[in-house]
């Protein structure tokens, strides 16, 4: 039962006693869920991720990279930014651009604008992107992680300037993975947490094998983890490394995903971190931009047997009526996707199996993962991009495949999920070597679409064709917080049922989704109430907002602007 079905019961009461109810229960059947692959039509089919593999089976080649959505030209239509991997200087003669940027033509197609936006000349071995308006100048900048130096690109009127050196974010040369912008100390400037993986280089590469004869890709147990780093935004275009001062050391490293949350509802952003073969981490904000790591005590660091899993992508959201945040982490094959719901105090409950996600996810290796309302019925569903790291795994592990279908776990509204991909088939059932995953309503029809990257393969754009339910999409602009409202919590109410969303970057695996918030309204025509909890602690309330539209809300203005 989703929240609208619960609503149905309440509605009956209204019909009897008031007889003026307009909200209708949503029809949420798997029949109405459909995604169509539109990669070719969209003009994205020429893109290929390059692993640089030249026979040495170097560890980074198995990792893949991310991508996502960015509105680089400020026209409110999501554009697409893809990381193309890289080549090894010693092994490959030709170099490739590290990034590809595609402008949204507003008709379902995209145009390659990599060169005209100043991104064509960067050559490196890239992994992830995260997007935010770090300088609060009302446009979207982005941070790009690589195996060597990372890069910060400032958006200057629709073209990008590499400001890495000036920003102070280019000092380290470490294997970085996912990064997340968030305002750790609520000073109104987006800080950044940059995930680090392992201490690998061609010089310390190790010979790994599945069959004792041929070299295959190693797994991270064999390498020392490198702790992730935290940089404070000084508000003047520069950042200061405050990893230790902010409480992010010591750390086991091998980080692949980070998500912002506020599990204790104190208004200060906390951070959940997925770590590969190490314990997952939960950083609780001390209320001043410093953190304590409480993953093990909280119960979210390990599985029910105390084992560290291979944490990859991560996301957090409220997925049931408990109003408690739940953390989702993608893991290796033969490991369930982790599902930890906040209970009370600092404790989390392991709901991996209870959520019904655990068992169906056991056979797949999940990288990208995010929560979104796939069928606009009001609850958050879970999409996962899957693909193994070992080519030829089929030969050594029965039932496990290198190329894997995606999962789309539909939420019944109570935090119990069903993978509908085996039922509906279609584009999501196509087997791929999935890595990054992100969402946005690229065609601005109210439904949330999916972008997936493959390791050594194409990107995929899956158009969401569910048009039966209503929606409301909201962009926020903060005055006292970061301009793009990072950390803002929005609670939508229909018929006393609430939907909680958070404006955030990070999450998933090395990818970036839109920061526009989508509320699925089911068959309801409007949102009864909208509560906005701004990062500075103030609250605004709006009532009776019509669905079927995208609106902008500026902090403290008390009004909605329709796009």
């Amino acid at each position: 039962m989703n929240l609208f079905n619960i609503g149905k019961i309440i509605i009956i009461g209204y019909v009897i006693f008031i007889s003026c109810d307009k909200i209708k229960p949503v029809v949420s059947s798997t029949n109405q869920i459909s995604f169509t692959e539109v990669t070719k039509y969209a003009g994205l089919s020429d893109f290929r991720h390059i692993t640089g593999a030249a026979g040495d089976k170097w560890f980074p080649e198995s990792m893949g990279s991310g991508g996502g959505f960015i509105d680089y030209n400020g026209d409110s239509w999501p554009d697409i930014l893809l990381v193309s991997g890289g080549v090894w200087p010693e092994k490959n003669k030709s170099v490739i651009p590290a990034l590809y940027l595609y402008r949204n033509n507003r008709d379902g197609t995209f145009m390659d604008v990599t060169a005209s936006t100043g991104l064509a000349d960067l050559h490196t071995y890239g992994f992830g992107i995260t997007v935010a308006d770090y300088d609060n100048d009302d446009d979207q900048d982005f941070f790009f992680t690589t195996i060597w130096q990372n890069h910060l690109f400032r958006n200057d009127g629709g073209s990008f300037v590499d400001v890495t050196a000036k920003s102070g974010l280019g000092k380290d040369s470490l294997w970085s993975t996912s990064a997340i912008f968030f305002d750790a100390d609520l000073d109104g400037w987006a800080d950044i947490y940059v995930g680090s993986y392992v201490d690998w280089s061609p010089e310390n590469d190790i010979w790994c094998t599945l069959d004792g004869i041929t070299k295959n890709y190693c797994t991270p147990e064999l390498f020392n983890g490198v702790p992730s780093r935290f940089y404070h935004n000084n508000g003047n275009g520069t950042f200061t490394d405050q990893t230790e001062q902010a409480g992010f050391l010591p750390a086991p490293g091998k980080m692949l995903g980070a998500a912002e949350l506020d599990f204790n509802n104190d208004g200060w952003p906390d951070l959940a971190v997925a770590s590969d073969t190490q314990r997952d981490l939960l950083y609780v904000n001390n209320g001043n931009g410093t953190f304590d790591e409480i993953g093990a005590i909280s119960g979210m660091a390990y599985d029910e047997n105390g084992r560290a899993k291979a944490g990859m992508g991560i996301d957090v959201g409220v997925v049931d009526g408990s109003k408690k945040e739940t953390i989702f982490v993608g893991n290796f094959s033969k490991e369930m996707i982790s599902v930890f719901r906040h209970q009370s105090d600092v404790f989390f409950e392991d709901r991996s199996a209870l959520s019904k996600i655990g068992r169906p996810s056991l056979m797949t290796l999940t990288f990208g993962l995010f929560l979104f309302d796939a069928e606009l019925d009001g609850d958050l569903d879970l999409f996962t991009a899957n693909g193994h790291v070992q080519i030829g795994i089929e030969q050594t592990q029965d039932g496990i495949y290198y190329r894997e279908p995606s999962h789309l776990f539909l939420n019944d509204g109570s935090g119990h999920f069903t993978d509908i991909v085996p039922i509906i088939g279609g584009a999501l059932s196509k087997t791929i070597v999935g890595r990054g995953a992100a969402y946005a309503d690229y065609d601005k029809n109210g439904t949330v679409d999916i972008l997936v990257t493959e390791n050594g393969g194409p990107a995929h754009l899956y158009r969401n064709d569910n048009h039966l339910n209503n929606f409301l999409r909201i962009n926020v602009k903060s005055i006292n917080g970061t301009r793009d409202g990072l950390g803002t919590k929005l609670v939508g109410i229909i018929n006393n049922m609430s939907m909680e969303r958070r404006v955030k970057t990070g999450s998933s695996f090395m990818s970036h989704s839109e920061t526009t918030v989508t509320f699925g309204l089911g068959n309801a025509e409007k949102l009864d109430s909208l509560y906005i909890y701004w990062p500075d602690g103030t609250k605004e309330i709006f009532h009776n907002i019509n669905g079927g539209q995208e609106i902008n809300i500026m902090e403290g203005q008390g009004r909605l602007a329709v796009q």
């Binding site: 094998t209 599945l210 069959d211 004792g212 147990e221 064999l222 073969t277 093990a296 005590i297 119960g299 390990y302 029910e304 047997n305 105390g306 084992r307 560290a308 369930m336 404790f347 392991d350 709901r351 199996a353 209870l354 959520s355 019904k356 655990g358 068992r359 169906p360 056991l362 056979m363 050594t396 592990q397 029965d398 039932g399």
Partner: protein, 398 residues
């Protein structure tokens, strides 16, 4: 006939996965005796000798199927699946309806993560007669392939045949736990644990389910007992820590979580080494490294198994022999430890480390002269050996 029944019992009962059988073949008594001795040696992980006894049995056996089957079991334990398969095939050539062969072939396929093939084998075993072991094994293979309905059905069929079959209850509990049906899982694990309360694995799963069901206070006693007996078990430490913290015993709980962290690091190393031996099954040093890691965490029996596989692969590796002798000592088996040291020095009398260790064992068992002799042998070859000098001085002072 009594002999034969004994033999067959020992052949099938070493592993809970292996099926009981009643292959009523006539075997030469001498061959029987060799096979029985071989079976004892197999229990002690003395693989090379076990195979030698099988060869001896082979000389006298008029019906070879038992000999081939026994060899199949030895090779299976060694993880040498190709040789095991050949031995099992030889068994079937001699006696196509030999009970247990298909089951054990299934086990080997399962161990090689070829679950579909394992299912085929188990089904063939069932054509010889319905039995709990292959039924349960089928369930386990279906679990690995994610086909849980089939798995559940086979576990239930096994229980239909024997309602006290704890292993099947245990597997059902795990299956229901994975499916998120914690109360059902608790019911099944409670049944397994109730029938076999001394089984720590059942006790552990029962306890963890209590923790998951927010009944941690009921699990604390059991988990403390498991931690005592299995100090290397990170899951027990972890769940005990969690149960204590959630019942308000923060300090104690954090202590166990810290211990869990240390145990986990050791387990991670073991997991890695287990993967290595799977990838390099002919490398004695991989097995020796695994054995060392297992010994370090106190899993002596598993360590001995790995050392013995290493020795099977490299019979003349005296470093490994020395480690085996040391492990016997850790297990409290001074007699076998000394016998092993003696065996090593009869093969190579120049190994000072072995003399040194042998002297220590003699000294600890109050055989001072033998200890002195051992250490003096070292000084004869290495007059400046500081350890030997120190031990002799100590002996003289006592």
């Amino acid at each position: 006939m009594k002999y034969l029944i004994l033999l067959i019992f020992s052949l099938y009962c070493c592993s809970s996965n292996e099926k009981q059988t009643e292959n009523e073949t006539w075997v030469n008594p001498k061959a029987n005796r060799y096979l029985l001795q071989g079976s004892d040696l197999l229990k002690q992980h003395n693989f090379t000798q076990a195979l030698a006894f099988a060869d001896s049995a082979d000389k006298y056996a008029t019906q070879k199927a038992d000999v081939h089957f026994f060899k199949g079991r030895v090779y299976s334990e060694l993880g040498r699946f190709a040789e095991a398969e050949q031995a099992y095939k030889n068994t079937l050539e001699d006696m196509p309806s030999y009970n247990g062969v298909w089951n054990n072939l299934g086990n080997n396929a399962y161990r090689q993560q070829n679950f579909s093939l394992a299912i085929d084998f188990y089904k063939k075993e069932l054509t010889l007669g319905r039995a709990t072991i292959p039924l349960r094994a089928l369930g386990r293979a279906f679990v690995e392939l994610g086909q849980t309905d089939s798995a559940r059905s086979y576990f239930e069929k096994a229980i239909e045949l024997d309602d006290k079959y704890t292993a099947a209850y245990f597997n059902l509990a795990q299956l229901e736990e994975d499916e998120g049906n914690l109360k059902k899982a608790l019911k099944y694990s409670s049944r397994a644990y109730g029938i076999e309360p001394e089984n720590l694995e059942y006790r552990y799963v029962y306890s963890t389910l209590l923790v998951q069901l927010n009944r941690g206070s009921e699990a604390i006693y059991n988990l403390k007992e498991i931690v005592k007996q299995w100090p290397w078990h990170h899951g027990a430490h972890y769940n005990l820590g969690r149960a204590l913290i959630k019942t308000g015993h923060q300090v104690d709980g954090e202590k166990y979580l810290e211990q869990a962290e240390q145990v986990r690091a050791a387990q991670a190393k073991i997991d890695h080494l287990e993967n290595t031996v799977r990838a390099l099954p002919d490398d004695p040093y991989s097995y020796a490294a695994l054995a060392f890691a297992l010994r370090k965490v106190g899993r002596y029996n598993d360590a001995m198994h790995s050392y013995k596989v290493a020795l099977y692969l490299d019979q003349d590796n005296f470093d490994i022999w020395n480690n085996v002798a040391n492990l016997y000592l850790l297990q409290g088996d001074t007699v076998t430890a000394l016998a092993t040291y003696n065996y090593i020095i009869t093969r190579n009398s120049a190994l000072t480390d072995v003399w040194l260790n042998m002297g220590v064992v003699y000294a600890l068992s109050n055989q001072k002269e033998k200890a002195r002799n051992a250490w003096e042998r070292i000084l004869a070859a290495e007059p400046n050996n500081a350890s030997a000098q120190k031990f002799i001085r100590k002996l003289n002072n006592n």
